[in-house]
Each structure stands twice: as C-alpha cells, then as structure tokens.
Amino acid sequence: MAVTRRQFMKVSAAGLAASSVGALGFIGAGEGLAAGVRPFRLEKATETRNTCPYCAVACGVLVYSTTDGAKDAKPKVIHIEGDSDNPINRGTLCPRGAASLGFANSPNRLQYPMHRKPGSDKFERVTWDFAMERIAKLAKEDRDKNFVAKNRDGVTVNRWLTTGFFAGSSCSNEAGYLTYKAIRSTGILALEDQARI
C-alpha cells in the first residue's frame, strides 16, 4: 500500500541497473533502458477504490481514470482491475467483472432524458426539467384521483395503488433508503425490488 506505482517504476529502474544488466558492465544502461520504455499507461491515471457492479460477492475493484490531456476533456475510465487488498476477492475478477470497463463505457449507456409520446414510434430528447416536471404532474394527477384515504370499513389506509415502483438492486444503500422514504411517503404499496426476480 505504501508503494505507489510511480515509486515502483523508480525502484524497478534502480533494480534493473544494479542487476544483470549492470553486472555485464553496461553501467547506466539499465536506467537508460528504463527511461526508454513506454511509460506505464496507468502511471498518470487516478486510482479509485470501488466495488464490482454485478453480483453480491462485491469484489473490490480499482478503477483507473484519466483524460487524454485535451483541455476540456472529461476524465474517463480507462482500466479496471481487481483490488488485491480486498480480502473477499484478493484481486481476482470473473469474466463479467474483468470486462466491466465495457459497462462503464458501453455504447448503450443512456446519455440524455428521452420522451416517447403516446402512439409514437420514437424517443425524442428532452430536458431534465421537462421530464421531471411532467412526471411529477402525471404522478400527482394519478395520486389525487385514485388515492384511497379510507377503506370500505372506514379505516384510514392512506394508500395509492394505481402507480407502482420497481426499485433497482444495484443502487447504493443511500439511494435505496432515499427511494424508500420518497416512495413510501406517497402511499405506494406496489413496491418491488430484484430480490425475487
């Protein structure tokens, strides 16, 4: 943990100079050789500790991100590998986790809010504000129309049954809790996650 990749490169270069190459009389050649090697591509990358997004083994992964140096470029994930410090997976990853870079950068990642009008054969790009305002309006309309404050026996039940919510099971605990809080406060009972399916 104390040795960064940059330090490791320096130590390697020194080691190279002092080892076989040096012993053969090529003093200084080792350092020259090390300097001539293409820089390790992760050397300038930022290393971030994360957890594999797929199954519940929750393998530790190291996410490496960098930019191409262009002024306005956003940092991009360029490499993902197993976290060898994580006692659960000890650095290993399966065929899914090892390829998870392709998930982060998948061409099928959604980029923008989209809207499909009734009867339409296409999605159209909209703004967040348009989407969220319309969703809130539709939700309120349905809730106000169909909310059941009391059941047939006059018991207060405060439930809303005409809208449902399927919750993501790869959301964080924090997102899950906030979702619970927001959704339960509306009276929705049709609430389900991926535990069964």
Partner: protein, 816 residues
C-alpha cells in the same frame, strides 16, 4: 448468508445445491477451492445439470428440477434414522423437545386447518406448542413424548425413503446415499458443512421451504453458528442485500420490520401482536425491542412530525390489504388497474415471467418512467422488433420517459454484499452525457411533489410534506448525510443508564449501536440493523483494514457487517451449553468465566453466564431454533414435496394434492399451466459465467463471449427429435414460444423419474432484443406467472416445454 464468503474456507464439506457458484459467483467460489485445497474439504453438487461447480466436485448427484424438498427430506430421514445428528446441540439449541399441540396433523398432503374453498390454511392454531399456565411452552427433555417436535418430524419424513427419493427426484439411490453419508460426517461439532444456494432454491412454488429444509438439516447437524457452517444465500445483484434490508418491498419497512396491515388501525393495535414475550423461562426474545426500532425509524422518516400524540405518524404509512409483489403488479397492469409505473434499474419486460402478460400490462399503462444507466427492453417495449418482439407502436398509448443514471464508477455510496458486509465505494468519473445519480433523480421527484402538494394541496399531502429532508442540498443529498441518517442520532440528550446524572449521548450525536435506541422519540435511526455503520468514530463502511487476527477469515475491521459488525450469525451456538467450544477445530466464541470472547462479536449478551440457560437463537421467543416452524410459513410447519405448477407427474406421495395447495393463482392465469401430455420435457433456467442478468449484453467483451440465446439439451433428446448442435429449435410452453439454437451437450442426461426417463433442458436467461448480442427471443416468454407460497418468488426453475427442430428466424431488424 449467515456466515461469509471468506468463512467458506473453514468448511469440511461444501454442499452446492440450488446454485452454481463456480459460474454465477466465481470469485466467491474461490473460497470453496480454498476449503478443498487447504482444509481437505469435499464438495458435493446436486443439480439437474452437470455444471462447472459439479465438474470440480467430489460427488455429483442429479435431480429433477423442483424436487429438492424430497431430496432434503430423504436426507433428514437418513440423519434421524441413523443417529447421525448432533444430539446435544439439537436437544439444547432447537425446539426438538417442545410438545406440539394435539390436533396438529398431516394427512394426504395437507396439514391441519386447510380450507379448500379459500385454498388456504385458515386455521393455523394447532401449528404451535402446548403452553402451561404461565404461557411457557411445554417441553419433554426426555424426548419420549410422541408429540415432541423431533418425533413428529421423524414421522413426517419417514415416507421419504431412498426409493421414494429416487422415484420423485430421479437421483439414483446409491448416489443419494453417498451424499447422505458424506454430509453425516459433520454431525459432531468437529467438522462442519456449509450450504451454498441461490435462485435454484428460491424460484419455486416451494422456494422458502427448500431453504427451510436446509436450515433444519444444519440444525440437526449442529452446523449453525459455527465456522464453515451456516445456510448461505449467494445473492445476485451487487446491492440486492442492501435494497432488501431497506425494504424496497411491498409489505416491509427497513430492518425487517413489517408494514402495518389495514386490520391494525392504531399503533397500539400494531404492537399487540409484536410484544414478543419470551415463551421459555429467562429467554432474551430480542424482538421485544421492536417498538424501539419502529419508533426510531419513524423519527428518521418524519422527524418532528412523528410524536407520541400522533402514534409516531403511524397514519403516514400506507396500510396494506394484500401484498403487491411483482406478480400482483403485473396482474394489475394487465387487468387495467394501474396507470403509472417507475422502473429504477429493473428491466421488468425481461425479468418477470410470462412476457406476453407483462407486455399487455405495460401497453395499458398511461405512463412509465425508466431510470437506468442502460438501454433496456422495457424502455422499448412499444417498439417493433419483428418476431423477437412484435409490437405496434401506434396502438400503444403509454407515455414513456427514459432517464439516464450514473453507474457504480460514477457515484459514491455503500453496497451490502451477500455476507452482509457494507463497503463504501468512491466516485472515479462523471457519468456519460447528462446522466444523474439515482439519489438526485429521486430527490428531484420528491422535491417537485412536495412543492406541488405544499402549494396546491391534494390527496393527503401530510406524509409527503412532512417527510424529513434536511439535507444541505435538498435536490441532491450527499450519500454521507444519508448514511448518517440511516445510522441514527440522539434526538435529545440521552442520559447514561448507569448514572442518570450524566449524559451518555448529546443531542445530534450519532448512535454507537442499536442497543441505545428508544421508543420514546429520543432517538432516530432508519434501519436498526445498520446502526453502528456511521458513528462518532466515523464511517465504518470505509474501513479497509484487511487483517484477520484469528485466521478464520473474519476480517473484523474491513467495512461493517450488520448487525453490530457480526460476521457469523447465531455464533453463541459455536459453544456447548456450558460455553465451551464444541471442539478445538471449530472454536469461535466461548465463555471465559466472566464474558463471551472470540474473534467475532458475540451474537448474545456479552456477559450472560451460560448457567442462565439463555438460548443462542435470541431472535426467537423460545431462544431455540425451530425444527417445527409454528405458524411462520403459510404452507406448513414442516416442508413437504409438492410438484411445480407445471407438474411433470402426479405427486407420488399424495396424488390428490400434487402441487402446493396454498399457491396464489390469479383468475387470469387459471389456464396458464402446462401438462406433460402436451409439454413432456422439463425445463429450467440458468445463468452463464460470461453474463450478468440483462446488463452485459450491452458490454462488448461479454457479447463476444456469449453472443446469442441457446437451448441446452442432452444427446438422447436431441437424437429423438433429430436435432444437431447449432440447429434452430422451437421451444414452446403453455405461455408461448421461442426459437433458439441448440447446444447439445453431455451436461444434461435423462433422469429416471418414476421408472421412466425424463429429459431436462436448460435455458440461459440473458438474451433479448436490445444490446450488443444478437437479437434473441426472451426466455421469460415461456415461464409461468406463479410464485412461491411464502414469498411469491416466480417459479422460473421448473416448468414444462416441448421442443422441435425449426427454421431460423426471418430478417434481423435494425438494432437500437
């Protein structure tokens, strides 16, 4: 998991049944390899298919899909009949000696109290103990009383002879007995067996009873609470454990509390059935603290608006009449009873059974909101994809929104893994395009609704406008703020119980653990089992100390394991009644004369002396674990074999009650089940090592590794149907038809059921009509819309089909 991934290495026998860890959880399976290599463990795999887990096993036994209870009941019969149980453990730590009520019986496939017209056990009053005048359960320590739970269990499983197991499961008798013999070597406290299962056990109409059978076996063997033991659910999604803990479920609230029903009209009513008084002398009955957890949760949700006078905002919670699980939701949608739907990272068109019904349901919605990082079939359900998904956009009036979210590398927060370990992860980069985090999207939705209800009023605004939302940025709460809120605070100064003059915790300070929670509104805490994850000492889920002082794989300072950072549940049971370890090999937690010590957090009062005879199963009112479930399961206090709803044979044990008698079948689905005369082949679904659910078909490398849907079948069936490897095959069920390429393998062999060969085929779940993989027919076109009697988990793992050779699909329409 009762134990942990790392703890698997301590096992002497590993049983993989109802799962396939080598392919579905490869990096967790490494601990099986570790157990085999360094602990001399033997691996047993019981599965209809010769999986890659089976390929590295020491002992493989096939069985027909959906017959696990027959197999496990036969195993129980073997253990009980041959004295291969851990006698002292069973006597002291289970309800073996408890006397069951007169009137409880099992006859012709039904337990006492069944009402044929209601298809339910309307009277479960006899599914209980005899009680004395003090309300204590009656016990016969000599086990002589024929109504002792263990004697009733013996009688119940007596029918499951090795011959009957072979007849129902198709497992050859000699293979079955070898499995029994190997498992029986752990009935002594010297050796342990771990049970690893996944959806292969849950996705049946008898799913919960499958798992209960194994829990009973592990109790008979004395394998609960000890290293290398336990009943271990290998869970699917990265945070499905956490999302379950937070009750994103119809009738639960966070921390395994229960949402009130409409029969419980007041908080006092609700608590009447939740007093959880001990039913054996001196027992802990930890759920006596239920009220503290519930009130603290209400304080987190509704803050100052939850007061003693308004029953802690009891009416802010919806009251349920019935469970609105996935199958019910789809039924309501298809019946035109739903208008709106949110899909947050859940591809329901692919994930729910009977795709035609789901499609009909989505088409009847007025609006649907997709919140997802990826393109999904659900978002495009209205689009025509030819024979893979035939739809007419003009006829579908559903308004659809697709909201892009960030994914794991693009936000921070905590995930809870299958071992209950909560690990924080950090953000590496921003998400693509205009994507936003789930937190931001939900916060935006809530803020807008709250503003609308504050301004315009509407139906019952109270709960919405009084939900606590005291975040620095209300439209974008910080995950750190949320984890603190989950952990809970002192709402007011809390006095020190030892010296009331002193303050133990000042108002606003984070709670150190759930033991300080109160039912008087002075503490908050959204999910009691998580309390301790974020204390005044910091965010425990961020801890990354990999040290393991005991060498048992406990890693106590890596993340935080709920509850109370405990890594093995029920670990008091690792010591005998006197507090001594059952063996030096399995030493874990023991009594040192003044307190319980060991490398883990004791699952017990830390200074409770063993001579107080408090049982180790402190969550139960009796302090012992239940071989007899009382009224806890809707389909019986003992497991019983019932055929899947697509029944392959009449139940040999009781032909008049072939399938689970309390399974819920919607009127619309009455004709949804297949019979073997039309559909003579048993099918099961499975997962591939190269794919995760419906996600990785959007990932290039995985799409290359496994590019398209296929149907795996054995050589005998392929030959009989004239099918060769790579041929196009039509698979049909009572629900629909798909086409897929044949993969003819030796991994499926005919199973001899009731003396006749039964062909089984396997279908991977992962493929659809969106993604980088080839367009495929979704598997769930075939599966039945029915679920487990206890949990309503759909029966994906055993259904009937027919197969025939066919022509390739027509044109491949353009992809998204």
């Amino acid at each position: 998991m009762t134990n942990s991934w790392n703890d698997i290495k301590n096992a002497d026998v590993v049983l993989i049944m109802g799962g396939n860890a080598a392919e579905a959880h490869p990096c967790g399976f490494k601990w099986v390899t570790e157990a085999k290599a360094n602990n001399g463990a033997k691996l047993i795999v019981v599965d209809p298919r010769f999986t890659r887990s089976a390929a590295v096993s020491d002992l493989y036994a096939p069985l027909r899909p959906g017959t696990d209870i027959a197999f496990l009941s036969g195993l129980m019969r073997y253990l009980l009949g041959n004295g291969k149980i851990h006698q002292e453990y069973v006597k002291a730590f289970t309800n073996a000696a408890y006397i069951i009520k007169e009137g409880f019986k099992f006859e012709d496939g039904l337990f006492a109290g069944y009402d044929e017209s209601k298809k339910n056990y309307v009277d479960r009053s006899t599914w209980d103990y005899e009680f004395d005048e003090q309300g204590m359960a009656k016990v016969d320590e000599t086990l002589q009383n024929p109504r002792c739970a263990i004697n009733l269990l013996k009688a119940h499983v007596e029918r499951y002879t090795p011959e009957m197991v072979e007849r129902i499961c198709g497992t050859p008798k000699d293979k079955f007995l070898k499995v029994c013999e190997l498992i029986a070597t752990t009935a002594n406290g010297e050796r342990s067996m771990t049970s690893l299962y996944a959806l292969g056990w849950t996705q049946h109409t008898t799913g919960a009873q499958n798992i209960r059978s194994m829990a009973m076996i592990q109790l008979l063997l004395g394998n609960m609470g000890i290293p290398g033991g336990g009943v271990n659910a290998l869970r699917g999604h990265s945070n499905v454990q956490g999302i379950t803990d937070f009750a994103l479920l119809s009738t639960s609230t966070p921390g395994y509390l229960v949402l009130p029903t409409e029969k419980e009209t007041t908080y006092a009513d609700y608590m009447k059935s939740r007093a959880f008084k001990p039913i054996r002398p001196g027992q802990t009955s930890f759920w006596q603290n239920y009220g503290k957890f519930f009130v603290s949760q209400q304080k987190s949700l509704f803050g100052a608006a939850a007061t003693k006078d308004n029953d802690w905002a009891y009416d802010y919670l919806p009251k349920f009449d019935t469970a609105y699980d996935v199958l019910k939701m789809v039924d309501m949608m298809a019946g035109g009873q739903m208008n709106g739907l949110f899909c947050q990272g859940l591809n329901i068109l692919m994930a729910a059974p009977n795709k035609a019904k789901v499609q009909a349901g989505l088409s009847k919605l007025k609006w649907m909101v997709i919140i997802d990082p990826l393109e999904t079939e659900t978002a495009h359900f209205w689009e025509n994809h030819g024979e893979f998904h035939n739809a007419d956009p003009k006829a579908i009036q559903t308004e659809v929104f697709q909201l892009p979210t960030t994914a794991y590398a693009e936000d921070e927060g905590s995930f809870t893994n299958s071992s209950r370990v909560i690990q924080w992860h950090w953000k590496a980069v921003d998400g693509p395009g205009e994507s936003r985090s789930d937190i931001q999207i939900i916060a935006d939705l809530h803020s807008r609704l709250r503003a609308l209800y504050t301004k315009d009023g509407g139906a019952f605004p109270d709960a919405i406008v009084n939900t606590t939302w005291a975040y620095a940025k209300p439209a974008h709460p910080d995950p750190v703020e949320l984890l603190k809120e989950i952990n809970g605070y002192a709402v007011e100064d809390l006095p020190d119980p030892a010296d009331p003059a002193k303050v133990m915790l000042k108002a606003g300070q984070l709670l150190p653990g759930f033991a300080v929670m109160r039912d008087d509104g002075k503490t908050s805490g959204a999910c009691w089992i998580y309390t301790g994850v974020y204390t005044e000492a910091g965010n425990m889920s961020m801890r990354r100390d990999a040290s393991d002082p005991t060498g048992l794989g406990i890693h106590p300072n890596w993340g935080f394991s709920w509850p109370a950072n405990r890594r093995i549940l029920y670990n008091r049971a690792s010591a005998d009644p006197a507090g001594k370890p059952w063996s030096e090999r399995k030493k874990y937690i023991s009594w040192n004369g003044s307190r319980w010590v060991g490398g883990d957090v004791p699952d017990y009062a830390p200074t409770m002396a063993p001579d107080k005879s408090v049982g180790p199963f402190i969550m139960n009112q009796e302090g012992t674990a239940r071989l007899f479930a009382r009224g806890a399961m809707p389909d019986g206090p003992f497991p019983e074999h019932y055929e899947p709803m697509d029944a392959y044979i009449a139940n040999p044990l009781h032909p008049k009650v072939t399938t689970n008698p309390v399974v819920r079948v919607f009127a619309a689905d009455a004709k949804s089940f297949g019979t073997p005369d039309k559909f003579p082949i048993v099918a099961t679904s499975y997962r591939l090592a190269e794919h995760f659910h419906y996600w990785t078909k959007n990932v290039h490398d995985n799409a290359v590794l496994q590019p398209e849907m296929f149907v795996e079948m054995g050589e005998r069936l392929a030959k009989a149907k004239g099918i060769s490897n790579g041929d196009w095959v039509e698979v049909s069920s009572q629900r629909g038809m798909i086409k897929a390429k044949a993969s003819v393998s030796k991994r499926f062999r005919p199973i001899m059921v009731d003396g006749k060969p039964c062909d089984v085929i396997g279908l991977p779940i992962h493929f659809g009509f969106i993604g980088l993989t080839r367009k495929s027919y979704p598997l769930n076109t075939l599966t039945p819309p029915v679920g487990d009697a206890s949990t309503n988990t759909p029966e994906y793992k055993a259904f009937l089909v027919d197969v025939k050779k066919t022509t390739p699909p027509a044109s491949q329409p353009a992809t998204v």
